[in-house]
């Protein structure tokens, strides 16, 4: 039984047909990289998985829950699906600790003390235990993104969605964030990443999905797909990125 199952999903923005029938099954513990040119629909697909975006046709099921664009359903989903954004989206008026504890307290209804223990745990996991009382603005981009990951982990999700989480970072800060993802993958966390980091996709990822013009153009084992592109579109893309 797969953890995430996407069935014939279509998405229109007005007359713009962004997703043209996507079918995907992702199992627990898999690390899946979605690659493709900008505008190919990768981010939209990711946002359909946790209900941030409503799809027009088809169906998405995550952890045996149907994903519908509805506040109550998203609240339920949030316990299974975490998401990390390109622009971190930390809450600037809250400390790192408060950022992390907010959802466990409000959504999982944990008491302050338990939430605090969780915050310390996840922060330790991303290597920022000593920053618990700092404000986001006092941290570097890489540190902020690691806090964002920790914030998602605090909800104990079954799958973590990552939307180009290293694109807004200075090159020297990319490594520390990828290292955290690598650790998570090693622990068996299911990851779905939209990314331009080809090396990461090849070395850490299990599977690569190449999207083009709103379709899954090519997919398969990451090493095979990236080494032997079957379509001219993918080989052109790989050449351009590398």
């Amino acid at each position: 039984m797969s953890l995430v199952s996407i069935n014939n999903v279509h998405k229109y923005y007005g007359s713009n047909h962004v997703l043209k029938g996507i079918n995907l099954e992702i199992g627990a513990g898999e690390v899946v990289s979605i690659i493709g040119r900008s505008g190919s629909g990768k981010s939209t697909l990711l946002r359909c998985i946790n209900g941030l975006e409503a799809y027009s046709e088809g169906g998405v099921v995550v952890d045996q829950m149907e994903v519908v664009y509805d506040d109550r359903q998203i609240r339920k989903l949030s316990k299974s699906v975490g998401m990390v954004f390109q622009s971190f989206n930390l809450f600037p008026h809250l400390t790192v600790g408060q950022n992390i504890m907010l959802a466990p307290k409000l959504v999982r209804k944990l008491p302050e003390s338990e939430a605090k223990v969780i915050a310390q745990e996840v922060l330790a996991k991303v290597g920022l235990a000593e920053k618990i009382d700092s404000y986001p603005a006092e941290l570097s981009g890489g540190q902020q993104q690691r806090v964002a990951i920790a914030r998602s982990l605090a909800m104990n999700p079954k799958v973590l969605l990552c939307d180009e989480i290293t694109s807004a970072l200075d090159p020297e800060l990319v490594g520390e964030v990828l290292k955290v993802l690598e650790d998570l993958a090693a622990e068996g966390m299911t990851l779905i990443l939209v990314t331009h980091e080809m090396n990461f996709a090849r070395d850490v990822g299990d599977r690569v999905i190449f999207m083009h013009q709103g379709l899954v153009w090519e997919e398969g084992d990451s090493k095979t797909v990236l080494a032997n592109p079957q379509t001219p579109e993918l080989s052109k893309f790989i050449n351009a990125v590398l």
Binding site: D71, F85, S87, N89, H93, L102, V107, S152
Partner: protein
């Protein structure tokens, strides 16, 4: 006819300035209360509520405050409600300032990046939790400076209450001018008193804006 010394003029103006201050405070409190309600309606996303607030804002920003005062003053009476100049002025200024405050506050809420909403939703927070814990604390900070700035408009707006016979600073000025006929002196003093009321607010608004911008 009695003779007015400069001190008499100033004394009477100062006495009347109290009512300008009181009316301003009432109008601000009323405007803020109604404005908060309207802002909530505006950002609720419910079509009907949003349309209503749009219409409200269009109506009160698109017509002269003077006309609003006249309509409230004479209109409510025709409907059989006894309205004093006090009440009419307070009500009209409340309606007027709530429209502008709603506009300002909506802008502040919308200035909070979309990402904050999305991240909060992904964490499973409900609409009200997002508002309460994420958006409002940030928007409030952004809103302080323009809100203090707008209070200057309220203080100045109270001057129009003089036209429906409410005795505040401006009305006292015209009465004193009539009694003394020294318009240059009287209106100069009136202007000075308004300036003394408004300028500190303007400066505070600017200082706050600078301070909060740096903090971000």
């Amino acid at each position: 006819m009695s003779v007015f010394s400069d001190w008499d003029i100033l004394r009477n103006l100062l006495l009347a300035a109290r009512w300008t201050v009181v009316l301003s405070l009432i109008a601000f409190a009323g405007g803020a209360t109604v404005g908060l309600l309207l802002t909530m309606m505006q950002v609720s996303g419910r079509t009907l509520l949003v349309r209503f607030t749009r219409l409200y804002i269009e109506l009160f920003q698109g017509t002269p405050l003077l006309m609003q005062l006249f309509l409230v003053f004479f209109g409510l009476s025709l409907m059989g409600l006894e309205v004093s100049a006090w009440f009419a002025a307070a009500l009209a200024l409340t309606l007027f300032s709530s429209a502008y405050l709603t506009e300002i506050w909506r802008g502040c809420i919308e200035s909070i990046p979309r990402g904050q909403w999305e991240a909060s939703r992904c964490l499973g927070l409900s609409y009200f939790e997002i508002m309460r814990h994420i958006i409002l604390p940030q928007a409030l900070k952004v809103a302080i400076a323009p809100t203090v700035g707008f209070s200057v408009q309220i203080v100045k707006g109270t001057a129009l209450a003089s036209i429906i016979g409410f005795v505040e600073l401006t009305k006292a000025g015209t009465m004193l001018n009539n009694a003394t006929f020294e318009p240059f002196k009287v209106f100069g003093m009136v202007a000075l008193l308004y300036f003394l009321l408004c300028y500190p607010l303007s400066v505070a608004s600017r200082k706050l804006e600078r301070k909060l911008n740096v903090a971000r």
